[in-house]
Subunit: 310 residues, 4 copies
């Protein structure tokens, strides 16, 4: 097991080298995301003992976007159990894009997995109560996993709402197929809010650290998620977390992860800690260019690939 | 880390309980496979130190079928390197069946990954020399990974040849798309021979044990595969090894694996050892019913899920 | 050319024989349609000279549903011309169902043709002005082609709105793809109103008669559509009008047609006249069971197959 | 009805104008086709009375390629009847390319229609007897419909065989799906021979003329095909004959047709006559660029669109 000093040096070096790469463009389909500081780069590792290693731009805050789907999945697995959750979403890689309707039509009706948009929208539909109650559920689980009460970024939320036709199409499709019930607009409101949670790599890495310990809070060691929930979430990250580059990414890093279009990647090093990297420059498949570079270097230098023994 | 005694007890118990399950049918699309003893069940674990734990029907021998695709992949990664291998196959879950042509047409031309039929056929096409040389290459790598010179089962081979129209269709498609060159019948002959390697769970578990140690031979500790090759193969097993139940299987067991239609499953417990289970009764998706049961119990009882810390 | 007496006898006989068939079920996905009188059957032929031959239940009124897509297509071809219309929809059979999104995703962005739901929704989006203006456009063209100011059936309209999630999904998808602009709900309101035009087979057959004469009003002989518009609409009916049984239907009858889920079929016998048949019992592909029977018998007895010379 | 003089003038003018267009490239996937004289252009119309109108390069001979699928379809409909034929192929537009396997996998097992490669290969498989007998069947029906004993072009046949991997893939797929039986290589040999029939536009237009009269031989008036066979073949040409530009082509010309990659188009003007045009320059969808131009002009100038009354 690497010492804290080694981890600090490796992370600092990886961030510095990644900064040299100027490839990739920020997402534009949610217009507000295009306003992110293009060259911001930040990374944090929350270690098993709760200590935090940081590098890069401390002040960089961003919306968690699809990486927040982990909150929804973990919370529902805890409260409702696998049977209920996997009645409305699958656990399989979709083999396609993150917002595909074709697959729903040909392989559906239930979405392939909870980490693509149709899957997260389906899960958002089973939260109960008034819209306020459902938003409160999101806030509560976000606080539990990120360790802090994080705000919903209102400009991004407005941008998601204004340009969310693809997600509206998915939600109405799921309703037409009988997968979801109730008011589609309210379901989407929950989904858009989930994507608009704002924070930094520190909070994001805390969620990953909980997953890396089989469900325990860093520092306190208090159980936040059951082992079963934690291992299920990490398994789905391994197979489905990076959309259609999940396989190549896992080969290269061995760190199960979930990306978001804001450029964040949340990655799990089981038994070691949780990692988050954020940088808005995206590759063609929607993954953070520099995030990939940082995670590859961490994995290689620290020997954190899940398929390599200690 | 569990003691050898614990592992023995867990494996024996798991095999005994799995034997009670009479669900599933043997594969029929390769007629000779239907002649397998329906209720045979055998399992072996090759531990890191080279010791072997066994349970079930010792005499049970079977063809390795698709699980032998691992030999082709590992051997080519060693000899040719990633760049050459991943120029003709991808590393992504296909999101569909193991012999699908539709995906080649819509997402191709290269096959999604090396563990579905199109991927293995594509890889078989880059072996060099006369047909004898290519068969010799297969034998050599099989011996290196399985630890023994294993025979090609001639009746199964004849059955594969006689009924291999789906694979012929795939191979001609790949040739028409420019992915493979040369004589299609010779490529298929290599592929059919690979699937017809015959052995027991002991040899199959040895290959898994090599992958579980990052590439070292059990007992001798000699390096057989580079860390890079081993971790890449295991990563692809994690995302693509169990066809369209890869995701659900990984959640349940956390043991990256590759199945074969003879009912074998070869699974990797990184840092612990390699597991093989064989039983001809298959579920609807082509996975061994009892194999799944045994692996779930091993994972749960020994805490060998990759996403749970020691 | 058959005499009026022959045509009357053939139509009466065909309707009588079709009435004996009790197969098929009314559409249920628009709940209000399920309230249609299950065994109503009516048919009318408007001949070239404007005379009308009728048979069956005179009082049967129904909503025109997808058959009214012809109004939208013909009106836009007249006013905007082919270039503008075929910039946002194709002219090709889709090879799939009438409400498929998969095809939009894989072959899009523009819908395959104007007679499937995505195509008609796309066309509805280019009507101009306030919602009232667009509804007025529909009413104006419906009156011009059906020969009468027909009402919008309000219960059916309400039912379409309440259960229109599949169409909402399509419309948001088209907006997300940049095919349509503007307020999706208003576009759907126009589309739902179009489907809810209510009339009898007499008015429906008049539209078909205009198409059968290359665009002339029955009786008056006044030009309503250009030859170009009429022949284009009939050609698209021939290849795409009966969803995924268009080919088998055309072989059997040789009468290019458009069906609606209320059980209406509007069919064109070029040079002879326009035919409409209505009966709510539908086959598995959404076509009227008795409508098919009546049209097959008319075609055979009168020699009206387009591919047979006089 | 236009006079012979008018038809001659229209055809001569259309051919002259089409000659000015230098767009399009010859097919290259069958290498021998690339050797065709690039600018050859010939056209013929066989009228109802058996007289023939010609224009362009008299000496131009070419292989009939996919246009000869009409021979197979018509002959089998006559000898086996609809029930048997449409048990192994459909009658629906495929909505995709002419050699697609994806559709077989997703909508199969039977091919969508007899005018795409999978459909014609399936039909070729039901010819009976030794290979010689099946080739003799093709020759016999070709002579009956083309009016002459036409040769098989041996260089093209050799080229088809050498490069026919896509068709081999299709044939093995159909065998694997249980659609075809027997020796795949022999089925393909029949199919390749069918595509390699060589002749001129005169013979090709004779087949079309038989279809245009509901099945009667030009001049003699002798019945060659039943009305039922003729109208079924023409209906399938209308919906499926021009691959994925069938719809746009039918709108533009109203002349049901079948194309071949040698650049021939065989088109039917019901009640008037049969047309053939040949020119090797192809558009992106595999249709003859100049063939389209000639047929559009004939249709427009002579008023031969099927959807316009006399």
């Amino acid at each position: 097991m690497a010492t804290r000093e080694t981890i600090e040096a490796v992370l600092a070096g990886a961030v510095e080298r990644a900064r040299a790469c100027g490839e990739g463009e920020p997402a534009t389909y949610i217009p507000e995301l295009a306003n992110a500081p293009l060259d911001a780069l930040s990374a944090a590792i929350t270690l098993r003992d709760g200590s935090i290693v940081r590098a890069g731009d401390d002040e960089h805050r961003f919306t968690f976007q699809s990486s927040a789907k982990l909150v929804l999945l973990a919370g529902l697995l805890e409260e409702r159990g696998e049977d209920e959750v996997f009645r409305i979403v699958g656990r399989e890689p979709s083999g396609g894009g993150f917002a595909s309707l074709a697959r729903l039509e040909t392989h559906g009706p239930i979405p392939a997995n909870p980490l693509i948009n149709p899957g997260a929208i389906a899960l958002a539909s089973i939260l109960e109560g008034h819209l306020e109650d459902r938003l409160a559920w999101i806030e509560r689980w976000a606080e539990r996993l990120y360790g802090d009460a994080l705000p919903i970024q209102q400009r991004v939320l407005a941008s998601e709402r204004r340009t969310g036709d693809r997600n509206r199409s998915i939600a109405h499709f799921l309703k037409a197929s009988g997968v979801i019930d109730g008011d589609v607009d309210e379901v989407l409101e929950v989904y858009f809010a989930l994507c608009s949670i704002e924070g930094s790599v520190v909070e994001a890495s805390r969620l990953a650290a909980i997953l890396a310990t089989g469900g325990l809070a860093p520092r306190s060691g208090e159980r936040v998620l059951s082992q079963r929930t934690a291992s299920t979430v990490v398994s789905i990250m391994a197979t489905c977390g990076m959309y259609d580059e999940s396989g190549a990414y896992l080969c290269a890093t061995g760190l199960p992860a979930k990306s978001g279009v804001s450029g964040v990647i949340v990655a799990v090093a089981t038994g070691r800690g949780g990692i988050a990297v954020a940088s808005p420059r995206l590759n063609k498949k929607g993954g953070s260019v520099r995030g990939h570079l940082v995670l590859r270097e961490i994995s290689r230098e620290l020997g954190w690939h899940f398929a390599l023994p200690d």
